[in-house]
Symmetry: C2
Subunit: 392 residues, 2 copies
Amino acid sequence: MRILVLGGDGYLGWPTALHLSRRGHDVGVVDNQVRRHYDLEMGVDSLVPIARLQRRVQCWEEVAGRTLGLYIGDLTDPAFVSSTLADARPEAIVHFAEQRSAPYSMIDRAHAVYTQVNNVVGTLNLLYAIADQDPSIHLVKLGSMGEYGTPNIDIEEGFIEIHHRGRTDTLPYPKSPGSFYHLSKVHDSHNIHFACKIWGLRSTDLNQGVVYGQQTEETALHPDLATRFDYDGVFGTVLNRFVIQAVVGHPLTVYGKGNQTRGMLDIRDTLACIELALLNPPAEGEYRVFNQFTESFSVNQMADMVAKVVPGEHRIDHLTDPRVELEDHYYRAAHTKLLDLGLVPHLLDDDLITSLAQVVERYRDRVIDAAIRPTVEWRRTQSTVSAPARAS
Amino acid sequence: MRILVLGGDGYLGWPTALHLSRRGHDVGVVDNQVRRHYDLEMGVDSLVPIARLQRRVQCWEEVAGRTLGLYIGDLTDPAFVSSTLADARPEAIVHFAEQRSAPYSMIDRAHAVYTQVNNVVGTLNLLYAIADQDPSIHLVKLGSMGEYGTPNIDIEEGFIEIHHRGRTDTLPYPKSPGSFYHLSKVHDSHNIHFACKIWGLRSTDLNQGVVYGQQTEETALHPDLATRFDYDGVFGTVLNRFVIQAVVGHPLTVYGKGNQTRGMLDIRDTLACIELALLNPPAEGEYRVFNQFTESFSVNQMADMVAKVVPGEHRIDHLTDPRVELEDHYYRAAHTKLLDLGLVPHLLDDDLITSLAQVVERYRDRVIDAAIRPTVEWRRTQSTVSAPARAS
């Protein structure tokens, strides 16, 4: 299959591109490399060193003998989107190319507006280009479980059958997202659903949980194929961040009571889910939603697991929650559609945490202590995201 | 009350500003005058001549002895939003300042992107300025009944109590909007709801039906106080358009079967609803939604009414529906909250249609026949919106 991976330079986009390439697909990587710019802006860096994108592509050719197409440009530029699709003539597009950090979107007005414009306009340009050039292209779009929020009823996969005053309809599941970033994904979902309806496009919206892990079969083949490992307060996600804290002797920072529960998945399952979606495309005009996670954990459960598995004594600090979210809530979310397609999950175990800790040990001199704590406060309209000095 | 009316140069914004001013409020008008630019772009014009904005304000001072503040600028410019609020120090803001035509948003990619960026970014800038300067400001935001689409269950006012697998929650009503414009309003609603939650803002989202009528008590006082009367295929709304067609002897153009049913209201009720919302503000942190319409009609019912009331023989043409919408559907939408606050509706009657027809008679030499038919097709990604020649 000819596949374009948008955002193919990022934490998940890059391993996805390699995985699909190795599985025999003809893969092109599209990226504006802005993720590297965010690092410069924040004064932080991936724990694991990341090769330049051109070098990554070259290394993959050396290691795997397979060529990746490379398109460097910005989805908010319609001419770039149009020419890229015309050149690559993809049968499917995997779309990771969005600003993906909730705290980044909450820094201030400019970052909120940037996040929503970047994500929404990029996706609109893509929808128009697909409709213009080839409506049969399958758009696999990364959404987020965070779009749903934490309702007091079961979360379903994208749609819910509602019985109301003696009548029944199946409607889009009501969304209660918790950041301007998550809101941008909700906007995207509505826009994509509409494009499928009016132009007969086909799309799979993958509402993904929080991803943990750093190595995949392909990225482990060479250091220049490694993907990012973020642990800072803006881009770091919870489990990866706890492991780094435990290894470097920083207290594990739980936000609030820690009873917040979220769907989680292993990075290798992200790759498997995307491949399953690609191999089982929706019908013409169909917009479908899969909830892409394998297990639910509370923040406290994750902190306890990491504290138990990583050698040494670990303190767990409960910080005032910088976010506005329920700290105690009901959480049960359906996630059977990908299992029905054949997903065999990697469940979270001690070995995964140990292997993550080993990665951290190897690069612990690169950890910037000052970057670990949260710096962005939801209740403020402006947060100072200082560029921390590198720890000695 | 100190009130800013954003979009105060438009079809509804201007009469709202006058009405609130006459009722003793201290009113400022904010507008970038882009609505006049759309006319230039389309090659059309309001049926009723519209004075320049500065002249309108001056005329109101002459006629009513009351001063309107005037702020000319663009909400997508955060510095303008910030300085306007700092200067006017409003207690409430009525926000009409959005691109409000569904067909305009569906012309092509550029117009879709413009509509969503303009509407979403303007509102985001406003939310940040309110949160920064005075979170107690009551934001009265114009939404649309079109956000809901036509679900097969009753439409409630913004939220719905859902019983699901033995549990219950009240969640945002699921939205199925029918154009990139309506989508932008859905995006706004989600963003405003979130801003109320995190910053304690207070907002009323008025999901308005299709407005008909052209005169209000205040606009009737002087020709330079008149508001717009749009009848073209892009900005004209259904009832006003039928009246013009009937007067000039053009067939009444019903899109599709004409069983599409929509909530409607008289322009004078728009003003009354906004005043009721202002006089009964929500609590701090509260986001509430009112469905702002008074009656539901099918397109066929409206065409029949107009054909009956306007003298002469009238043909009704059923055009292929340029939109993607259900032509037969269930429609029942709650609209009790504004009635509970005291709204006494002007229901649609023959007199209103007759008075509209009289306005058309007065200006019938200004009608551009070629502008009446729909030019924008939802199923295409690009429509040609030609600049029609003025009829002799």
